[in-house]
């Protein structure tokens, strides 16, 4: 026995040279025991030694003590810490005199303890009841509680609401049984209110005390989540109207189409009719204000379950759940009534009607993109048919759409590849029976479809704005033709048609003048044909442009007179020279006496007002006789000639040059 080394003595007593140790709070007796707590020895520590051991707070650390057991001097290193409020526990290991070894050991342990303490994650270690065994510095900072304060207390009671703690308690039991690691997000109560923590939880066995503990390492994701939420809100809300934005309504529609069983709904595509003009005229500030006010007004019209969103620009989407034709019709009526009343924006009264296209789920499309596209198509159809109207989507509209798409590509290609040409229809002076002027009419020889009639593409060119480049081409081409014809014994004036859109083109005048200059004209050989609708939209500006053209030597023709609402007296305010009677009056000859009477008196008045008068669509002798009789100046129609290419016209002139 005397020769026993401390190591072999410990092994003899405890079956290991690293017995467990335990120090109670109210006595300085250090218990040493074997792994099963069967072999227990108690050593009385001095006060100073016991104090050193009690300094082992939350962190695992070491204390070296010199004592003796049964007469054998024993240097022990106690590794451990306070396990809960009332006790210190750990593993004892003997040390020989090699102080360096002891220092190394302490340093290693202290280092790992320091890492746990100082790491920027939250680290809490709890037992299967949720009692706190470790609580690192980051936890102290966040919670406002010290490790010493919370040691041994129940984490669930300290940091969670009653409701959460109930859930967690159940989880704890499950996880300690299943031994799985898991991750979770939980709100914990701190001195600054609840914080959202992302916890990674792992069960770890502490061999020192032969017990499983839950090591929870957490990251405070409160701010991250708040930022995310802010971003999501910003990302899903339109800042002008406060309505859900395009992104948000798309998500909502995606959800609605994915709902099973299928629940029908109607998607309304709303587009303001007048927004572009308002924006151009009053500026974007008023434009935005209008959008905001419209959004607000629309929101008041819809039911609590329905969704209104700003889709972009002046477009709104309205999702009507449980839609019936009656409900949708009623909502559309309300919206139209609403949009008929003016909005007062900073003392400016603005009218902006809207056109509505309706697509029904699932009949008119089963996906987000299909529904939106079809509602959009229906809206365009509504706008085209009648501004302020409502249209329900139909498959035919898609054909129309496809046609538009073909036209768009085709017209651009036509401009680039020179597929357009001008045909000319002579206008014959009824007194001299000689052609004095021609009307230039555009023809399109498509590489795909052959000759495309103007009626099939002019409308689209107008709507798409392609009419501007096409119009410029017409002017330049007619100008070039006029130059070629300028050597004819009797020069011909060429009239070209100008749409409202072209008339509004600020570059019209400069383009016109450039074309004149290019072909060496000081006075314009071209005349312009306008329709009544051109004049109606903005009379002041139209007069301005007409006068400028007039100054260049252009005669202005009013086309299709009699179909609109302008009266002859109104026309006196305009710098017009020629009035072209609409074909419908000519066609009425000789059957419709009333139309003929009307034509007669119109011509009489026009003569009085000093307008030259042209009759279009003259096809028969009787028509020619009548218009000659009532004093029409010029006639144009198949009776004389169809529109034809320039070279053919030249031949025609040679044959019909003289009456």
């Amino acid at each position: 026995m005397i020769d026993l080394t401390p190591s072999s003595w410990l092994t003899q007593r405890f079956g290991t040279d690293s017995p467990r140790w335990r120090l109670p709070p109210d006595s300085n007796a250090l218990y040493l025991s074997d792994a099963d707590d069967r072999m227990i020895v108690a050593i009385a520590l001095s006060n100073a030694q016991a104090e050193d051991v009690r300094k082992l707070e939350g962190s695992t650390a070491t204390v070296a003590i010199e004592t003796q057991l049964e007469g054998i001097p024993l240097g022990l290193i106690l590794i451990g810490r306070r396990t809960d409020h009332d006790e210190w526990r750990g593993v004892a290991t003997w040390c020989n005199d090699t102080a360096a070894v002891r220092r190394e050991m302490e340093r290693g342990l202290n280092f790992s303890e320091q890492v746990i303490s100082e790491v920027s994650s939250l680290i809490v270690i709890v037992d299967d009841q949720g009692n706190i065994k470790r609580f690192n510095r980051e936890c102290e900072r966040l919670s406002g509680k010290t490790e010493a304060e919370v040691m041994g207390k129940n984490a669930l009671e300290l940091f969670f609401s009653a409701e959460e703690s109930e859930k967690i308690r159940a989880n704890l039991t499950t996880f300690f049984r299943s031994m799985h690691s898991w991750e979770t997000e939980r709100h914990i109560l701190t001195k600054d209110g609840p914080r959202l923590i992302w916890w990674r939880n792992r069960l770890v066995r502490n061999a020192t005390v032969d017990q499983w503990f839950l090591v929870c390492s957490g990251t405070d994701i409160t701010e991250q989540r708040r930022a995310q939420a802010r971003l999501e809100e910003q990302a899903s809300t339109d800042s002008t109207t406060g309505l859900p934005n395009r992104h948000a309504i798309q998500s909502i529609i995606n959800l609605a189409v994915a709902t099973r069983p299928v629940k029908p709904f109607d998607l309304l595509f709303l587009d303001l009719d007048n927004f572009k003009n308002i924006n151009d005229h009053y500026g974007h500030a008023i434009g935005d204000l209008l959008i905001a006010r419209v959004g607000q007004a629309l929101r008041e019209q819809i039911g609590p379950g329905d969704v209104l969103a700003r889709f972009g620009g002046d477009e709104f989407l309205l999702l009507l759940y449980d839609a019936t034709p009656e409900k949708t019709a009623s909502v559309c009526r309300q919206i139209r009534t609403l949009m008929e009343t003016p909005f007062t924006l900073q003392h400016i009264q603005v009218y902006s009607g809207c056109s509505i296209g309706v697509a029904s789920f699932p009949a008119d499309g089963e996906s987000l993109s299909e529904l939106v596209r079809n509602a959009d198509t229906a809206m365009y159809a509504a706008k085209a048919a009648n501004k302020g109207g409502v249209m329900h989507f139909s498959r035919e509209m898609n054909n129309h759409l496809q046609e538009s798409m073909w036209l768009d590509g085709g017209l651009r290609q036509a401009l680039q590849e020179g597929q357009f040409s001008l045909h000319y229809q002579p206008q014959v002076c009824l007194r001299s029976r000689r052609a004095t002027s021609v009307e230039a009419l555009i023809r399109w020889q498509s590489s795909e479809r052959g000759m495309v009639p103007p009626l099939s593409f002019i409308r689209y060119a107008e709507d798409s704005g392609l009419i501007k480049p096409i119009g410029r081409w017409v002017i330049r081409e007619a100008m070039a033709q006029a130059r070629r014809w300028s050597s004819l014994p009797q020069p011909l004036r060429i009239s070209v048609n100008l749409s409202a859109r072209q008339l509004g083109d600020p570059e019209l005048l400069s383009d016109f003048m450039a074309a004149m200059q290019q072909h060496g004209f000081k006075r314009s050989p071209l005349d312009i044909e306008l329709t009544e609708s051109c004049i109606a939209s903005d009379e002041g500006r139209t007069i301005e442009i007409m006068s400028a053209l007039r100054a260049l030597g252009v005669n202005i023709h009013l086309d299709d007179f009699g179909t609109g609402y302008s009266s002859l007296s109104q026309l006196t305010r305009l710098p017009l020279q020629v009035i072209k009677m609409d074909q419908s009056f000519i066609r009425a000859i000789p059957a419709d006496a009333r139309s003929m009477a009307l034509l007669r008196s119109m011509v009489a008045v026009a003569q009085q007002l000093d307008f030259q008068i042209v009759a279009e669509g003259v096809e028969t002798d009787s028509q020619l006789d009548f218009i000659s009789e009532i004093g029409v100046d010029l006639a144009q129609g198949y009776h004389f000639a169809r529109p034809m290419p320039a070279d053919q016209l030249e031949q025609w002139l040679q044959q019909h040059g003289k009456p």
């Binding site: 109670p24 109210d26 006595s27 300085n28 007796a29 218990y31 227990i40 020895v41 108690a42 050593i43 009385a44 520590l45 006060n47």
Partner: protein, 283 residues
Amino acid sequence: MTDAFHKDCQIFTEAGHTSQLTAYYESSRRIVWLMMHTHPRPSFNPALLDDVEAVFRAVRDSKLPIDFFISGSTVPHMYNTGGDLSLFSQAIRQRQRAVLSSYATRCIDILCHLDGGFGRNVITLALVEGSALGGGFEAALAHHFLLAQRDAKMGFPEISFNLFPGMGAYSFVGRKAGQRVAEQLIASGEAPRAPWHHEVGLADQLFEPGEGVMAARTFIDTLQPRLNGIRAMLRTRHRVFPIHREELMDITQDWVDTALSVEDKDIAYMERLVQLQNKRARA
């Protein structure tokens, strides 16, 4: 003192109402604590004897598991000053042999209970945090183990009034430390500090001031794992160094005779000591 107690210390209610002491039961360690707060003087007055007897009866009869008994005092710097000098001087002046005899018998019975472990194998500890003089020291010596605060004074001052400590002093000190030490203490009347007693074998363990309760628990905790062996050792102690009640009673009868034969100057000194103790108690 209560603050220092463990949370599972409760009042030992079996002892009934006591005025000179408070008894506690510490369930985790199975300890009965008898903490004296004797007044007006911290001596073995008849009221304290009543209380101690009540606690002892309760310990003997209690159904609670009791492994240890600890006596101590909550009077600062004082375990016990011993015999009731006021009672002694009066009885001597009035030649009341029966009073002295009865008092002495009660004290002997108390010592026998402590020495005998209340007949139920209880290990007894004296926790001496202050002076233990005369009968107070005798009582402390009657416990199986004596734990003493380093600055505590222990001795037998009876010789100063020409008497001797007749309630177990010679018997206990003689057996623990030998004849020479017993007679040195009794004859000189000196009260050395505790390290001396530890040296000669009268104190089993020393502790620093203020660490008494902790020391007592530590002592007990270190005994716990070897309780079986320790109890056998104590039984052997009794067999090898038996202290019989007859021996103590015989010496006590001599003490009564000796008391009745002290001179007037000695009684006067006793009375002066009482006044001094009273003065101290008031201060």
